[in-house]
Amino acid sequence: MSAGQAVFSNWMEIAEEQVRAVECAPSEDAAVAALVTEYSGTLYRVAYSVLRSPADAEDAVQEAFLRVLRHRDQLAEVRDNRVWLIRIVWNVVLDRKRRVKARPETDDVTEMERVLPARGLSAEQLASAAEHHARVLACVERLPAKEREVLQLSAFEELSSVEIAAVLGISESSVRSRLFRARNLMAELLNHKRSLR
């Protein structure tokens, strides 16, 4: 067999040794592991603030990191890992929330009792505080989606308005105006609730 024939026969068939698994760059895996170590807590809290269920929030964080793993070759291009990861988990959380029906307020009461710091509070005080926070959360849920999202993200002290804008994909001025509207609406809703009681 001539050299040319050999080349063309090899061209047509792919030999076993020619199919090689690209060894996943260990540096990329290490980078993902480092991201998990550094940001999993923040991502969990972001997910929990929306889903208000520890199991759902953990699942959301896991899904977010799986997405990161799928796009690990783009890690080098990411400027701010934290904002990028929060944006991913935020999208995951919103997807999940759309699929889940509205949560009953009683679930929120139970969840708030778990979250509230119990020090110096009697059981009754704890229960009434949990009910109060659950009512506030019910009002938050009644806000329009755009205003609610900005309000929820603004509760994270580590997120500036620029970063909130980057997560939501809007301008910083939009963040400020939405936050202003959200506060006014919340005041209306809470006052209306108080007047009904």
């Binding site: 030999a15 199919v19 698994a21 969990y44 990191f65 793993l69 509230l116 006014n184």
Partner: protein, 181 residues
């Protein structure tokens, strides 16, 4: 003696903001489940490594250059454009040939009512009827079967004689007609 400043009364908006912030902050500072990080890392390690790349036996280094890529892209564009032009060239003339021509309306005298495009047929007089001649069936004999008879001297004489007799008969008839008149 220290004078105490009177506390400013908070507006409902401010109270609402404080309340909301307090509640949302509680959620934002929720404790992370114990062992979540380990579980996440274990789950990520379980993920298969699906990315496999085929290494071609004939490695063309040039193909990786930007110039070759541009040339390949230009070739693709040319192929697409040529194919499109070819299809257009095939279809457009056919459409032109298939287009129906507008029938020319016959010119009518004056500006009266039109006949809405009806074709006018001219009225013709009844002319002399032409007798229908029955066409003789075509001879299907072959040349080999019936050889062409060569004109003989006898036949030629017969033909001349019959012609003369005919001519004489006609002149006789003419004379009889004149006498009758």
């Amino acid at each position: 003696m220290i004078l105490k400043m009177p506390e400013r009364v908070k507006t409902p908006e401010e109270i609402a903001e404080e309340t909301t912030r307090e509640t949302l902050r509680l959620l934002a500072e929720a404790p992370v489940p114990v062992g979540m990080e380990t579980r996440l890392l274990a789950k990520l390690r379980e993920q298969p490594q699906p990315r496999r790349v085929l290494r071609w036996p004939l490695r063309v280094q040039l193909a990786e250059s930007a110039g070759m890529r541009a040339a390949a892209a230009a070739l693709l564009v040319a192929l697409l454009a040529g194919g499109g032009w070819g299809i257009a060239a095939l279809t457009w003339p056919a459409q032109q040939a298939g287009a129906s021509r507008e029938s020319v309306r016959p010119a009518l005298g004056g500006e009266g009512f039109s006949t809405a495009g009806a074709m006018r047929t001219p009225q013709t007089l009844k002319g002399p009827a032409v007798p229908m001649t029955v066409a003789a069936p075509p001879v299907t004999t072959t040349l080999a079967a019936v050889p062409e008879a060569a004109p003989t001297k006898k036949a030629a004489k017969k033909a001349v004689a019959s012609a003369k007799s005919n001519a004489q008969g006609k002149t006789v008839d003419k004379k009889v007609d004149e006498t009758e008149r």
